[in-house]
Symmetry: C2
Subunit: 335 residues, 2 copies
């Protein structure tokens, strides 16, 4: 669907005729315009939101690039299923649904009710010495993600992740996709000290030197994670279904970058929720010409930033649908 | 009530034991700590929010310091009562209650159901040539505000305002309370052009030169507005009731500044919602040692920024009350 200039003009006029000074709702007006354009209507629906958390393990964790042990990925999946993680609490707080996907956690399948099993493997291989996954695994992760992203009829979908060492993965992937230096992209993750960050960067420099230029999908296979590839696929599936995609923090932004490099039109569906404390996030946002809505010092992932941004999207659509115009309210414009 | 170091330590421990890296929820953790400390409990309640919009007119409007005619104050009160303003839409969107107070709109009383009548007068006098209000009027506005702020049993209260020319009033008041220059504090308001801003500043320079140093309450009487004085009183009433006070934009921050200069302990109850596009807001926030939660380019007032911040407060308390600890969830800490 391509919307004409008439639609854009009608939309801007509808926003400008609301009872407020011109532009006085700032980014809420921008959000409203983006949502309306994506849905192709001056009266967009923004009533329901769902977050899907993709969990997977990373071979690169064996190189000591995270402050937490790998077992925490599995433990946190159980925490999500039990309702005790920050993402569960925030989802309930803002009225969003939550799903958890095993995209490839190390060890055996969970076999637990309530968990969506889409395991591509029992964690990726270490990308220090070879590809994190095969091309077939990457394609399978993208495909499973596309289906999950297009599933249901939520107006907005957010994607979160859990995977010990996945800031290392996201930094390597972001570096390969953009050429931005690892000195910019490598940060503290869950809490590395300066020596830990230096070690993480050295590991990633060696890993990155293994390959030359790569296509986006090849970069995803070489340096990605199962949860990151599946999340990228989910973003593409959701965008193709003209659903607003709320992009969370550093790792979700790396997935968004891979998605947009594969399918540039997907960018139009994306809203960037929160600028993470993780060092490299700003550079990845810049690469997507994106400005995050929130800046609250979060660095947790799980979709927590995306969930906190959902009320803003709802308010933006409500503004367009429910706020009175100067004419309707009998309010004078500027003198 | 003074809470001991044991309480502070217990609170920090409760936050740090949640299943997340230390500090990974950034300002949400700070908010949770502030709310818990204000309520004096490790399990604070943050389930209900209410916004009160105070409307009044300003004699200084006659000097041509606003882009909109004075009649708009009255028209917007009717818009609030009809449910069509941005504040109504955002309040419904985030699940907050809304009240509208006539603190002193020009013309006759409205005499309308649903409006809280606390009229101090039919608009202030122009503070260009004399005090905006008498000392008695100022005391009456503060008193009416205190009662409204302490009313009901909402966990959080937000205060909004409507009053054509009240960015001029807030700039003059902020200048007198802090000594910050009018070149910093005078901005475009609802949409002045450069010449309009220069004129507004010249008017305020002349008005400010009328008086020397003033006590906070005297500054409020000389340069305030009925809605600003009543809002300052409401903040004090709410803070005394240990209720979280969500401070909106530029004008609400000027009221908060007056309130804190009168009763410094009130600062502990205040959460600053949104950094306005209005030029002087950053300087007033600095004077209160405050950092706003949101920065969305809003410049509307009405409590709109405060309403958009309410879901963050709710999420912060939910985090403290509902998120699992490492022990409860069986999740390992850092390696």
């Amino acid at each position: 669907m391509t919307l004409g200039t008439t639609f854009a003009a009608d939309l801007q006029r509808k926003i400008d005729m609301k009872t407020k000074p011109l532009g006085a709702l700032g980014r809420i007006e921008e959000l409203a315009a983006q949502i309306a354009t994506l849905q192709g209507t001056l009266s967009p629906r923004m009533a329901s939101c769902q977050v899907t958390i993709f969990a997977a393990d990373h071979g690169i964790a064996a190189e000591g690039v995270s402050a937490f042990p790998q077992e925490v990925t599995r433990q946190m999946v159980l925490n999500f299923l039990g309702g005790g993680a920050a993402a569960n609490v925030f989802a309930a707080s803002v009225g969003a649904d939550l799903r958890v996907v095993d995209a490839g956690v190390a060890g055996d399948p969970f076999g637990m009710p309530g968990l969506i099993e889409r395991r591509i493997g029992a964690g990726t291989a270490s990308f220090l010495t070879g590809p994190a996954m095969t091309a077939d695994q990457c394609a399978a992760a993208l495909q499973a993600g596309r289906a999950l992203g297009a599933d249901g009829d939520w107006d907005a979908v957010a994607f979160g992740e859990m995977g010990i060492a996945n800031t290392a993965t996201a930094a390597a992937l972001g570096h390969k996709l953009t050429g931005i230096g690892l000195d910019v992209l490598v940060g503290r993750g869950t809490g590395l000290d300066d020596a830990g960050v230096a070690h993480k960067r050295a590991v990633l420099e060696r890993a990155a030197a293994r390959t030359g230029d790569l296509s986006p999908q090849a970069a995803l296979a070489e340096y990605g994670g199962f949860e990151i590839a599946m999340m990228a696929g989910a973003m593409l599936g959701a965008a193709a279904a003209r659903r607003v995609v709320i992009v969370d923090g550093f790792i979700a932004t790396a997935a968004a970058l891979a998605a947009v490099r594969m399918v540039p039109e997907a960018r139009a569906a994306m809203v960037f929720a929160h600028r993470s404390q993780e060092q490299g996030h700003g550079a990845l946002l810049d690469a997507l010409d994106a400005r995050a809505l929130l800046d609250l010092g979060l660095r947790l992932g799980e979709g927590t930033g995306a969930l906190l941004a959902w009320p803003l999207l709802k308010a933006a659509a409500d503004m367009l649908n429910r706020m009175a115009s100067f004419d309707e309210a009998g309010v004078d414009g500027p003198a």
